[in-house]
Amino acid sequence: MEPYYYDSALVSNRIHAIIAAHATPQALNWLQQQLALLQEAKTTQRFNITFTAMPRFTGKTPIPDTHIPEANNFFIYGYTLDRLARIWWLLQLPSEDRSRYIAAIEDLFSAADMNEQITLYGALPLLAYPGEWKLRTAEGVRSNIGGVLEAIMVHNPYPAKYLDEPAWNQLVMKAIFTDKPVHLITGLDERANLQLAQILRDYAHERWAAGRKINPMLWRLIAPFIDNEMMPDINRIWASDQIVDKEAAALACAHTGFAPAKALLQQSPELAGAIADQSLTWVTVAEKASVL
């Protein structure tokens, strides 16, 4: 079986080109030396030292956001040079020996500082043997460190592709609980499911009981499953004095086939029109909600 499900040599070259455009000649030279040392020694220790020492030699220049579709839809988003150089370095780890490769990556995770964890979780879509990192991803979702959670949740195509339904639902719930930008989760609509919708509805009721605000993005995940039981909640947010809640209700109504919801939306030609001309979308709701 091939270790990588994409052309890792090509992607390694593409990433290296981005690094080269932002690194000093000394840093590039250092990276080349490290590669030569690794190819000669072929030891995990050699690999680990370079991985850990990276920021000391590359610095932390910001890297412009870049999409690399041929790398399993990898997204360089909010990166600094040290993080991207560590990603490139991960692609240099010999992967032919499956168990050795997996042990080396797991060891990196287990001794990782915060920035290394952020890098490693962000690298999930690029690691070899992609089926092997499901439990590790679920472990990362249990983290209480914001940056680690964002590395897994935001513009990361790995979880939607590989997590089973309970683990996926945990990820989405955790994102809502910790006020992460839910709309930036890759595969959010594709992986919507009834179980998650029911959990989120119960959660909304708890928040109401406690007199706390509800992230309007929650209704996006409920929308495809609106039925007689869910409809009173939609009516409730439709009647909210917060305009962003009413907008979320309108969007939810627009994304369901449930007739009473469709009828509700028709009560406001203004909102229905805004949805039709795309001036009201889940993205505009997310942006409005984040400044509240």
């Binding site: 680990n48 030292i49 000391r56 500082d113 915060m114 959670l149 006020d179």
Partner: protein, 327 residues
């Protein structure tokens, strides 16, 4: 300080701003020795309010001996991971030093295993030295691992943070410095900690950094510290709280600054011993970037205002400690 006075202080209503805060308005502090894993979020909140912008957490003994290398690994991990993050929630930049402490160096089998994993951690970002290492009982095992860690620090180009013993302190301090020099370590790369009136002269004369721990009852009181600065000045002197799981004070640095101010010590000298000198000494690691002090505050602000990456959903890092209402 007299104990009944202490009791009276805590019995007063908590709503008043402590008097010492008046003297240190607008000042920034760096506490280069504090064990935050043992402290609460109330401490972090009070430290940030008192102007502490950055701290160093040395690896140390946890109050009881560890039984395996994995608990050391998890502890080192928490210093570079969770604790650093927790601190950032309060706008305080957190650094650490990594090392095998002197007490546990006496468990040789375990010490060997710890020495094996140390190189994994001392090259991490934000690790500003090897510490706290040195002597406790001054046993041969302590000496062996002290020497081995000096070699590690030398190879990594990192400063060394030396813990000096409580018992037989003067001799232990001299011996720690002798050994460092024997290993070819430049005294300017060594911070000798827990000094007192008896040790400070030799430490300074030999070119080492002299750190003082302001710690109630067992180490220095801050009135004594004022006298030390009056006598020796501010060159290569720094103060810290070494606050930990014992009866200690995480505000020792700002409180001592206030007392120095009241005692007429020049504000530049106060700045040096409570902020600048510690940075100069530990920045020799190449791991301290002062721009990060502001950055960590900005991150904290964004957490506060749009709630995008706070600890738990909607939780604000600063709560109103004076309010009866918990919402």
């Amino acid at each position: 300080m007299c104990c009944s006075h202490e009791l009276k202080e805590t019995a007063q209503p908590l709503t008043m701003v402590p008097a010492f805060m008046e003297h240190i308005k607008g000042m920034q502090f760096f506490d280069p020795h504090i064990h935050m894993t043992s402290r609460t979020t109330d401490d972090y909140q009070a430290m940030a309010a008192a102007g502490i912008t950055a701290v160093i957490e040395p690896a140390f003994w946890l109050g009881q001996p560890r039984t395996g290398v994995d608990t050391f690994k998890d502890y080192f991990n928490s210093l570079i991971g969770w604790e650093r993050f927790r601190s950032s929630q309060f706008g305080i930049k957190h650094y650490c030093t990594i090392g095998l402490n002197s007490k546990e160096a006496n468990n040789e089998k375990l010490a060997e295993a710890v020495m094996e994993i140390l190189p994994l951690f001392i090259y991490k970002e934000g690790v500003v030295g090897v510490g706290e290492i040195g002597f406790d009982d001054q046993t041969p095992a302590e000496e062996k691992y002290y020497r081995a860690q000096l070699e590690l620090a030398k190879e990594a180009g990192l400063p060394v943070q030396i813990h000096t013993p409580h018992r037989d302190k003067k001799k232990g301090t001299t011996r720690s410095m002798d050994i460092a020099i024997e290993h070819g370590i430049d005294p300017k790369m060594v911070i000798v900690d827990h000094n007192n009136e008896e040790t400070v002269k030799e430490v300074l004369d030999r070119g080492f950094w002299a750190a003082f721990t302001i710690y109630p009852f067992t180490k220095m009181g801050n009135e004594r510290m004022v006298e030390v600065v009056k006598q020796y000045g501010s060159e290569r002197i720094m103060i810290n709280s070494a606050a930990d799981w014992g009866i200690s004070d995480p505000l020792a640095v700002p409180k001592t600054a206030a007392l120095m101010h009241e005692s007429g010590i020049d504000s530049n000298d106060i700045h040096l011993v409570t902020f600048r000198n510690a940075i100069t000494a530990f920045a020799q690691s190449g791991q301290i970037n002062e721009a990060d002090f502001e950055m960590v505050k900005q991150i904290d602000q964004s957490l506060k205002f749009n709630g995008s990456t706070v600890l738990r959903g909607g939780q604000q890092p600063f709560r109103n400690a004076q309010s009866t209402i918990i919402s």
